[in-house]
Symmetry: C2
Subunit: 330 residues, 2 copies
Amino acid sequence: MTTIFDVAKKAGVSISTVSRVINNYPYVKDSTRKRVQKLLDEMDYVPNYNASSLVRKKTKTIAVMLPDITNSFFATMFHGIEERANQNGFVVIFGNTNEEIVREEEYVHIFLERRVDGIILDPVSPKGETLGPILKNKVPLVLVDREISGMEISLVSSNNRKGAAELTEYLIELGHERIGLITAASETSVFDMRNKGYVDALKRAGLEVRDEYIKVGVKPIPEVGQALVQSLLESDPPPTALFATNNFLAIGAVYGLRELGYSVPEDMAIVCFDELDIRTVLDPFFTSMNQQVYEMGVKAMDLLLKQINKELNGTEKIYLDPQLSVRHST
Amino acid sequence: MTTIFDVAKKAGVSISTVSRVINNYPYVKDSTRKRVQKLLDEMDYVPNYNASSLVRKKTKTIAVMLPDITNSFFATMFHGIEERANQNGFVVIFGNTNEEIVREEEYVHIFLERRVDGIILDPVSPKGETLGPILKNKVPLVLVDREISGMEISLVSSNNRKGAAELTEYLIELGHERIGLITAASETSVFDMRNKGYVDALKRAGLEVRDEYIKVGVKPIPEVGQALVQSLLESDPPPTALFATNNFLAIGAVYGLRELGYSVPEDMAIVCFDELDIRTVLDPFFTSMNQQVYEMGVKAMDLLLKQINKELNGTEKIYLDPQLSVRHST
DNA sequence: CTGTTAGCGCGTTCAC
DNA sequence: GTGAACGCGCTAACAG
């Protein structure tokens, strides 16, 4: 590829002059500017951004690490991030952590080597075990979705506790008094908050919080939801309604219920967190609490930008309110 | 951040020695290697990859441009690419083209500036209008999904024509003789091929290809599918079965049919290309021809790797066979 | 085994 | 207005 030097030689000027016209600096005679510009075009000159970032000391690159890009939740968030980054002249480099803490750790290292200007992370590590190098090097960092307790790091997430409480209250308003919870371990902040919101609502309504109505699985996936709902049905009396803390658990729950001949919502009402990709679902079924996912991505990028530009001292946490959408599962 | 120079000074050696231990070169005395390594760790040294790629002349970075990452089809493909790239020590930078040719053009320029080692592109531009700079600079390029006719560029895609023919034949075997086609403009290779496959099958079966059974929309989205199916029903006699060339069109078709009181498959059988995200669909409904999407991503990366490593002279085109999955819409 | 030197491609003073 | 010179952080000969 042609370099700034090649152009300079051909134009009979110094590289600094070429550099000046590339970067649109003043104090270049109009005639030479035009001459150089013409050569720039003719020679198909493409500036080497890496070389220039070496001296500018910023790469205009941010890194994004997400657990699973094939999950439409993360993909939508990613889209928001990318869009905003692009608008601000940033390029996005991406790493799928695959819910594996080792990959998160590896990617942190890789991205630091690339000298990214900032990082947006939906952490796999519940305690931020992988974050050391980022913090030590003071690289701007924004967490999304999942919070890490006890660490002062900027965050954009949803008001999970409040949303979960509202969702549970919705069931209570419908007249349900025995409400089951199907959820994942509290290790992940998101589920912790939703579990708490469920309890909040029950207590507020003066309903008993019964342990046998709370089923905790290892992973928030359909298979687990299916097993949990069946175990839930063994309680006596069984619940009349069910709160699944995410959509995959809810899907599994429906399968589990069907297997035993129960129908939804007649025999059991179901609500859950998160919407199923609306474009690919023929008949939206679940009454759900939907997060502002795209917005989360946008806000995360905005917050990161503030840190990169040093417009923020300290950290900031933003919680977006999820919204209830009533369908046929209740 | 600490540099190789800082470490060298503190260790009392030259920077080349430090460089040698960083890159695990031989010919370094074991004792000094250990001493340097210790300092490297203590001082939290993180190599500046951009600086080293400046001299190595490769960035170990590839760029991926896709039309819409929130579409699970592209997200799955992206996942395959990322996984494979990561395994081979490559980092992925991503650009969402949003189906806009302008963004594709901008991103091409941006990625060239970043001196990516290769590019994987699902092109928006039907004729490759944005590819000039890539080809001119001989940057390794692999197209995925959509083909650009008349250009010798490596490609990984599906055998769309064959798949469409098989899908149509499946309907014919079911006894249908009047089969409608709901599709998007042939400008995009993928739809062009599927349209041809439909015609192939009809001709092979000795069935008439009737123009009024072929409805072409501007975009492959539900709204369009909905309108097209209703226009299709105006033909006399109307078809008894329908081939939608992608899943979004199929969804729209179902809506359109319902609106007029038709039920699927009783009044109208439907088949389509592409599966709806299986994890988020409670009751898989459509009989569909499913592409090996993840595999496409993997193969695209492998092919790009071959070009980057100059193990391939010329170009290569790979077509994966899609697979039929029979459900309840037929 | 180790250090010196010369760049990689570019931005940025500082003179002229 | 313009150019020479230095340096960003690192690798790669080449000496020694």
